[in-house]
Symmetry: C2
Subunit: 161 residues, 2 copies
């Protein structure tokens, strides 16, 4: 468990090996995955990190993982000394922002099947390592319905071929 709801996100985490998910818990106690991070990716609650306010999200390992954490003060220190690094993180934040917007729009513009297909494209590395429940939570559907979606896709493919 890297981050718990209510705590302030005090560092960026670089995933060396393994896999993490960032998720929110709603009023009914259900968990909703917002994003994943596997090898060579960064993860953090950017909102909490930069505002230094308590996070509403959780970050948790899905496999036994090893990570490198960079803390706020060290990062800011590096920012000052390495101008390029500043830009790297800036671009990363921008990308996460745009990704979040895309996720939102896609979530109310397309059907679960379409969302699943674009999930497969977007996360080719981890799609086979995640349980059905994790993927379904990211897509905003139940694991049972994900099963059906997969079946329908298979039927369509074999039907066409």
């Amino acid at each position: 468990m890297l981050l718990r709801e209510g705590d302030i996100c005090r560092g960026y985490t670089f995933v060396v090996s393994g896999c993490f998910r960032m998720y929110a818990v709603d009023e009914k106690g259900k968990e909703h995955n917002i994003s994943f991070a596997a090898e060579n990716e960064w993860i953090a609650d950017i909102g909490s990190f930069y505002s230094e306010k308590p996070s509403t999200l959780n970050i948790k390992a899905l496999e036994s993982s090893s990570v490198i954490q960079i803390e706020q003060k060290d990062l800011y220190h590096l920012y000052e000394n390495i101008t390029k690094l500043n830009r790297v993180f800036k671009v990363m934040v921008e990308n996460k922002y745009v990704e979040l917007q895309r996720h939102l729009v896609q979530n109310f513009s397309s059907t679960a099947q379409t969302r699943y297909l674009s999930f497969l494209e977007q996360y080719p590395k981890i799609k086979d390592r995640l349980s059905n429940a994790q993927i379904a939570s990211y897509l905003g559907i139940t694991p049972e319905f994900l099963s059906k979606v997969r079946k329908d896709i298979m039927l369509e493919e074999t039907g066409k071929a």
Copy 2:
């Protein structure tokens, strides 16, 4: 029309009077509202602004409005001279980020009725100025269904009272 999909968002807009919406257009041509801005609020595609990459969003007036636009170079110039301003914009970006996350989670954790009720709380100023179609687009439902949601809420209230 303040920003058109494909253009780079080159400035922040401060709404003096009137009202704007920021929206995305999906593959089927449907429009999905992401956020609104009325008097004394700022609006911009933050992703495009800071990355200087083409926007995937549009910003359009809902009423005849008057605005003040601050351009990139002027803003960066002000950043250097007024340290406090830097912080003001930083906080604004953080808040928008968190709002976007909340919108996403809420969208797949709660029913249309719940979402509508929290929309009313969140946008008390503009809730009466927006057409049904605009509100429905923000909630991710059809205007017809919004009608029904409203009716159901009324029925529940009178039923209880």
